[in-house]
Amino acid sequence: MRKFLLWSAVLPLLFLSACGKGSKSQVVSLNDLEFNFEGPLYEGPNTGQYAWKVNLKELLKDQYSEGMKIKSAKILAGEVNEIECESDTEITEDIEDQICYGFEQIKSLVLSFASNNKEIPMQEIALLNPIAADKKTQVLNVSGEADLTAFLNESDVYIVLDADISEDIDDNLELKTNITLELSFD
């Protein structure tokens, strides 16, 4: 009986360790993803989209092999940056041309992944509420539970940035996002 109990405990562990053998992981970054919020924008939540073509070869470089599948994917970090205002350096007669919109008009940010695949529901992955309006870079709080594995095995993913805007804005609002992911694969 003891032997049976011992083996029933040891066997699953052996199985799990065998499965885990050979699994690799790599940290990858998606940098400068541009989100254009087309104005006019109303006070309240507004959505920006970035259509991401998933290219594992480009992401994993030497680690890539033909036909490979991602076994797990999670977010490690996310940040949102203001796009530098070009007219800052120029003196123009029209003072309105010099106005750029940034984090002063934003109350909170939520980052999500979505897919056209019916089997893959949208997933929120990071947020910041409230944001620090005086900073040029907003470091998001990432979800520890968000599982992005299914998205990384798709060819097209929509990265969605929701910005809660505190007042109406006449123009477009542009933000850049950096996302760091950890991918595991065989």
């Binding site: 006019p40 924008l41 109303y42 309240g44 939540p45 959505t47 989209q49 259509a51 309105e96 106005i99 008009q105 109350k107 909170s108 939520v110 999500s112 979505a114 897919s115 056209n116 019916k118 529901p121 949208m122 929120e124 947020l127 509420n129 709080n141 990432v142 979800s143 520890g144 539970e145 968000a146 097209d156 929509y158 969605v160 929701d162 809660d164 007042e167 109406d168 804005i169 006449d170 123009d171």
Partner: protein, 159 residues
């Protein structure tokens, strides 16, 4: 005879293409701002990729009565996301247009209890939706009627 066959082929191709385009754009009738029957929220439906999603853009009681702060998704099963503002929360997710004014395969989230239900949307007329949330099979569910809101554009000004 050859010309006739060619014309027929072109005709079939054009018909198929038109049907495909219509299928894609007919679903866009769902876009807009909608109000549930209780009148406590307004939800804006938008398209991401080929799917339809609905965000809360207005809440009758936007602030927590105890703290006085804007309400957040405090019942979210994922603890790290409980600070997501409810105003702006995407409560309708992943709807696919099936034709005949029906959108399916989506979910509806109830922020009052943190539960997510399967959901189908049926447009009964251009300003009315039957939103049916259910668990498991559609027969075991509840239907709410949502009305379209006409949002008048307003002049905005720069700071």
């Amino acid at each position: 005879m050859k010309k006739l066959s060619l014309l027929a082929l072109i005709g079939v191709m054009l018909f198929s293409m038109t049907a495909f385009v219509n299928q894609n754009t007919d679903g866009d009738r769902l876009l807009g701002v909608w109000e549930p029957s209780n009148g406590r929220a307004r939800v804006k439906v938008e398209k991401i990729g080929d799917k339809y999603f609905g965000r809360i853009v207005w809440l009758k009681e936007a602030k927590d009565p105890v703290s006085g702060e804007p309400k957040t998704d405090k019942n979210n099963p994922d603890e790290s996301l409980r600070n997501v503002p409810l105003k702006g929360y995407r409560m309708l997710k992943d709807f696919v247009y099936k034709g005949a004014d029906v959108w399916e395969e989506g979910t509806i989230y109830d922020p009052l209890n943190g539960n997510t239900y399967s959901c189908t949307i049926k447009m009964t007329d251009k300003n009315t939706l039957d939103i049916r949330g259910y668990i498991g099979v559609s027969a075991l569910g509840r239907t709410d009627i949502w009305k379209r809101l006409e949002i008048k554009s307003k002049k905005k000004s720069k700071k």
